[in-house]
Amino acid sequence: MPWNDQSGGGDRGPDKGSGPWGSGPRRPWGAPPRQPPPNQSPDLEEILRRFGERMRGSGGGGFKFGDGKRGFSWPLIAGALFGGWLLLGVYMVDEGENAVITTFGNYSRTTGPGLHWHAPPPIEARRVVNVTGQRTREIGFTEQNNRIVDNPEESLMITGDRNIVEIHFRIYYNIADVRGFVFNVRDPEQAVRGVAESAMREVIGRRQLEPIITTDRAAVELEVEELLQQVLDEYEVGVRVLQVELLSAAAPPAVIEAFNDVVNAGQDAEAARNNAQREAARITNEAQAYRERVVREATGEAERFNAVYDEYRASPRVTRDRLYLETMERVFNNADTIILDQRGGAVPYLPLDGMIRRNAAPRAQAGGG
């Protein structure tokens, strides 16, 4: 809208594409604003009259007005207005911005940062656009008070293996060709966003769910970035994609529990393995201990036998009897020994039960060592 684009903020509001005639005819030629309407109010008339009187003497071209008593310096007014009109063409371009100047709607030049002048409207118009500033777009979610609000309409995508994945991503871009950005595509920001979403869906559609949410995230970012840039170049929209950032790629909320359970299962399995290892270590060590013990005991016992045997060899008869008697002595001393004479022929009935019980009770108390 070159006619009323004097604000210098042409890139801030989206260009709705209304033709120049939509708003043009109201002030098509930049008609001098506020042409003083004569005889409007007594005050104004008075001022003008005084002004005119003062001017009459010096200004040779003083134009007589009304009955001739009231004078007016038209060239001065016209000059002031003309000067003001010329000043409308002065504009500032900040660092990082570019201004696109059109002459009667025809592109004439792009100017960089600094103070500039273009022919005042409606001859020339400008559109100042921030080109180096990084622009971002969030897709799949919106941020409200630092909280991420999911937008399922955008975020849920179907993967190549017919699963559904929730994707949140952000694109960073700036403007490489301001002329293309201003003239080639209607609503370029919206176009960038639309293409980004479609590119992401295309890339996600080519891949499997598992890699997307685990190992392939960087590859997805890169592929989307390339595809996005390629399509935008086709549109000649003058946008340079700086980065595609995959913020989250996860299973959708409806199934997230099942996905988390897989992670839990891994932990459970690991825990079971660790427990088994622990037990295994105990079992093997016990066995090793057993082997050592048994061998050592046997060695000791063998040595004991050898020692006794050496003695036995020296005097077999004596040693043998002595061993026998000593052993029996200890055995009978501890045991409830009943001596039964079978030679009497009579098999006596003995209350064995009673005898044992009577003897066992005190023994059991004394025993234990």
Partner: protein, 280 residues
Amino acid sequence: MFRSPVMIVGVVLAALFVLSQTIFVVRQDRQAIVLRLGEFTSTINASVDAPGLYAKIPFLDTVVIYDKRNLGLTLEGQPIVASDQERLIVDASVRWRIVDPLKFYQSAQTEDGGAQRLATFAESAMRRALGAATSNDIISGRRAALMQAIETDLNRSAATELGVQVVDVRIRHADLPQETQERVYERMRSERQQVAETIRAEGARDATIIRATAQEESERLRGQGEGERARIFAGAYGRDPEFAAFYRSMRAYETALDAGTPIVVPPDSDFFRYMQRRGG
């Protein structure tokens, strides 16, 4: 001449009005056709880049201005039945531009009207291309090729009819309908459950194997110990088996018979040998 200020203002306004009816601007990103009493006379800034200031005969000529930029058109929620009978909901966006403003004027008059007609063309082109493809192709395999096919189709049909050029067709969503989506979730869930179950089972299996291996090792070690023990005893007792049996029996009596074990001993046993001799 300028008798009254009202006259001046009136003349100026009239002049401005005539001027506004004569002079017009065609911007860099616009194109126009000029019609004289409804009859086409010329196009401006369409195929040849020539934006700028133009004049026409006031009141006789009318100017129709169109956008020259790349325009967007969105097709929302198109139900598509793929060749494998699977239903899909497809959203697409068509980027297009007016390249022949005269033809566009003749067939559509306004941009909105043209967009609407293009949408109709696009819908049927989409149905043709996607209806012949499998759902797998639409979702993943040949998405780019299908988009290209729709674009080519549109450039054949709509372009000649409407005087537009289709720059790009992009399938945004190609989703399953809501009820199918639920089933997809159910399947995803069961798949995950199966994976989780497998992982847990593997863990249990490994644990059992680890324990069993340890048991195996344990038995071997114990066996080694016992074997060694046997060897050692054989070495020692082998020197005199008869004495060894005697000696070992003596030790066994001592350890095997607990305190309080009732033992019935005949008086003629070896132990009482001398006792009897004295008594007999």
